[in-house]
Subunit: 232 residues, 2 copies
Amino acid sequence: MPNPEPFDFLPHIAYDSVVFGFSGEKLKILLMEYHKTGWFALPGGFVGINESLDNAVQRGLRERTGLDEVYLEQFYTFGSMERFKPEVMMKIMEPHGFEQKDHWLFKRFLSIGYYALINYEEVEPKPDKLSDSIGWYEVDKLPELILDHNFIVQKALNHLRTHLDQKLLSVNLLPELFTMKDLQQVYEAILGEELNRANFQRKILSLDILERHEKLFSGGSHKAPYLYSFKK
Amino acid sequence: MPNPEPFDFLPHIAYDSVVFGFSGEKLKILLMEYHKTGWFALPGGFVGINESLDNAVQRGLRERTGLDEVYLEQFYTFGSMERFKPEVMMKIMEPHGFEQKDHWLFKRFLSIGYYALINYEEVEPKPDKLSDSIGWYEVDKLPELILDHNFIVQKALNHLRTHLDQKLLSVNLLPELFTMKDLQQVYEAILGEELNRANFQRKILSLDILERHEKLFSGGSHKAPYLYSFKK
DNA sequence: GATTCATTGTATCGCTATGAAACAATAGTA
DNA sequence: TACTATTGTTTCATAGCGATACAATGAATC
């Protein structure tokens, strides 16, 4: 494979995206694996020379998940020298025929970190040209990632946790209709702690952001919960 | 003046710093003025090719204020296409003999925003090579700035306000010893609103972060306030 | 030295928010 | 019909916070 149009992208600039998904119980993120090396990495990409930064991240996400207009938030830009490890990139690119040691991909990069919140069930992730597989991994059981990607995930989680109340982002992690228990589980998965059921319900309802719909009869031998949706 | 070693810096990458200072009453920021154009801009700079991002900003700040180890926080990276206005940069550089239209300075840039909190009295700002003067301007009476710099300031202020309680940054805006009233004025200037004196004192003291020292006899005909410092 | 004044330190009152627990309702099962 | 698991709501005690009042105190004034 020849060089992928090197001068179509801004040199030295990359983004890494931490894609959070919720599986009903656990909070997970998308990771790509390079089989030849056994290495894991965050899905990332580059910024077109005439493309806005936000747009580049949206595009990369659309290509990998098929999802459009997902909730995206920039949280930090990583620019230390420790993250410059050309041998790692060279090892990854080796099977794809990148031999030149001075290739633009092996230069130093700043990386802008974004995170996304998406509905686990609506997504069929697809590996990109360089990675051999892509999949969901629980945030508290992540494998070792290349470069500073473990650190990036931690920073994303931190940002998400400290801004959770302000944004009520959970919108994107759940289907259109959900129960109060579903919503509480999202909060618990993100915050990493258990919440009191009664107080959670009181708090959320007092915010006046939910619409209550018909009940959900699950077949279980107990009171049926209401279904909710977010007000628009 | 010839090109300032173009390849010593990462292309397409800049930083802009919002330097907050407190004058005893008002919150101010540092602005640079290009006399030939009458334009104002945030002090910014570029990242050395072998230099960490944080280091580049520290360096720029040291060169302009003489201060070292100030509180610095990264708050956002600006990457829209609207901020790409080569004619503005060309106009600024014109008096310094940059004629080539394809010069690296006139390309598109991403800019990483940082803010700093410094003690107004310990600083003697100095203009850099390109700007003709540098000075303090009240945040609520800023002139029009080039590009998206007014927006950058707003975003910095927002970040500072929403994280003020977590960080207790005020440490850097005040001298070693200060009164409770001094501290309250810093908070009021940053938040842009008046605070209740009694409640502010109760809240701050309950945080257990201050050390109380001897009283300050100012000569005024009233009860003398205690002096405080931040615990270390 | 008593009086006055401006400012500071602290206490009080009422309301709201919140954590913990109890109580009530209900869909299915035995 | 009784029982069970889960959900919706209420209650109670406490913490936090805004608003206000009160007490203490340097210095100036008479």
